[in-house]
């Protein structure tokens, strides 16, 4: 049995080989995802009793970072899959149907996608326009999903919708829709600056005659507060850390090559490298301390759903997404034109374009505005170790 790190490295090696083609062609990282399945990494988080490995977010985060170093799109697909799986693991245990789904995810290595974004609502995941329409034991759902990342490639989609046609836009449920239960008509194409391989196209999603047991019993409000906020910000941050690490590694290799060419002298770029390594360490500290705080909470919904914890996670996302962009940009300034060109060992165009998505996916201004509201009541302890 090889270690998790070795399995992640093998999948990352495959992802790395195809990363440029995935980016250039704006296509799904199929080879990388096949490698993730071959290494059984899609079921990592599923509890042991359902055939998974019961891995926590710390271990998933490590894999995200390893993949982020190789191919941002593959890493983000892996992260988004596990963000959805974390909702199932935390909120699906009371539902026999969702327990069987977890078994299938582990056994068949099913890829899970998410549909929260909707035309007319935008990225505000806590509101939906579409509604579940129940008739007897089944329901139907139609959704103008303006973004479903890898929707066309996923084996199932977890979608938000209003609980019933008369429900308030914030009274949402999360439904599991298997690929063979839905039709997806593409309404927009994901032709972007970076993160091109996530294939986050827009779709008209139609589902009919879906058994009502596929609706997660917990209200989505609780799922969002207790599992999604934490897993999203922690795993995205880990992907961005991987991208930033790749850029720092390129910069370091470049400076060391310069030093070897002129023995006895410290290249001028070494000072810039010292600066970027400093920023990179601060970024790592931010990500790791947030992961440790999450781990220390031991899944306690009151801690993770507390206002102070939400503020911490929001700050993590805003800080780390900005730092990641800054670090890759600084690494590029160290390697200069050989980083700007696409065909050198120091090329940084792809990671730079990819990482520019970080401050935009759930825009930092939206997150800061959310934090601003929470700060109206937070008091703060002023302590170093238990803030």
């Amino acid at each position: 049995m090889s270690t998790l790190a070795a399995r992640a490295e093998r999948a990352a090696a495959v992802a790395s080989r195809h990363a440029d083609a995935v980016d250039r062609e704006g296509r799904f990282p199929a080879e990388a995802v096949a490698a993730l399945k071959a290494e059984r990494l899609l079921g990592l988080q599923i509890p042991g009793q359902f055939g998974g490995e019961g891995a926590g977010l710390l271990q998933i985060a490590e894999v995200c970072s390893t993949l982020g170093h190789a191919c941002s799109a593959a890493a983000m697909v892996f992260a988004m899959h596990h963000i959805k799986v974390s909702s199932l693991v935390i909120h699906g245990l009371d539902s026999a149907w969702h327990c069987r789904l977890m078994e299938r995810i582990a056994r068949e290595q099913l890829l899970v996608a998410s549909s929260t974004t909707e035309a007319g609502i935008g990225g505000d995941l806590r509101n939906s326009l579409c509604a579940v329409e129940t008739q007897g034991e089944t329901f139907s759902l139609g959704k103008d999903a303006s973004v479903i990342s890898y929707g066309a490639q996923a084996d199932l989609i977890l979608a938000t919708a209003r609980r019933h046609p008369e429900a308030a836009t914030s009274d949402q449920v999360l439904v599991a829709l298997m690929a063979d239960q839905i039709s997806l008509d593409r309404t927009s194409q994901w032709d972007t600056l970076g993160m091109r391989g996530t294939c986050s196209d827009g779709f008209r999603l139609e589902a009919r005659d879906v058994p009502v047991e596929q609706i997660l019993p917990k209200p989505f409000a609780e799922i969002a507060a207790v599992s999604m906020l934490a897993s999203s910000h922690l795993l995205w941050s880990s992907v961005w850390y991987g991208i930033a690490t790749y850029a720092v590694d390129r910069a370091r290799a470049f400076v060391q090559a310069e030093a070897r060419r002129a023995p006895g002298k410290v290249p001028p770029t070494a000072l810039r490298l010292a600066e970027v390594v400093n920023a990179h360490q601060a970024m790592r500290g931010t990500v790791v301390s947030a992961l440790r705080r999450y781990e220390d909470a031991h899944g306690d919904a009151d801690t993770i759903g507390s206002l102070g914890f939400s503020v911490m996670l929001n700050n993590l996302k805003v800080t780390v997404s900005d730092m990641a962009v800054d670090i890759v940009r600084r690494a590029l300034s160290i390697v200069g034109l050989s980083g700007y060109k696409n065909d050198t060992p120091y090329s940084l165009g792809r990671p730079l374009r990819d990482v520019l998505s970080a401050p935009l996916m759930i825009g930092n201004d939206r997150i800061l505005a959310n934090t601003a509201k929470l700060l109206l009541v937070q008091k703060g302890s002023g302590q170093l170790m238990s803030a």
Partner: protein, 84 residues
């Protein structure tokens, strides 16, 4: 002072609860009814103003705002502490 009645009154001014407060029992889950983090912040601010108390950080969690009873108990404790 009927804290539970005051809590109901304040809750009624929240969009998600307008017109529904009287049907709620003291133990119904407010989160199931659509109370979100912003809603709880607004509720907290209104309670702090009404009762002249401050919610310490350890009470700023979902448990304290899970039901009318939970909120009323949290407020009663704070009011007693304030008076002591």
């Amino acid at each position: 002072m009927n804290i539970s009645q005051d809590v109901r009154e304040i809750l009624g001014s929240n969009e998600a609860f307008a017109g529904k407060v009287e049907q709620l029992s003291d133990d119904d889950s407010l989160f199931d009814m659509g109370l979100d983090s912003f809603g709880s912040v607004q509720l907290m601010l209104a309670l702090e103003e009404r009762f002249n108390v401050e919610f310490p950080d350890e009470l700023l969690n979902r448990k304290s705002f899970a039901s009318i009873r939970a909120i009323s108990e949290a407020v009663s404790t704070l009011v007693r502490q304030e008076a002591a």
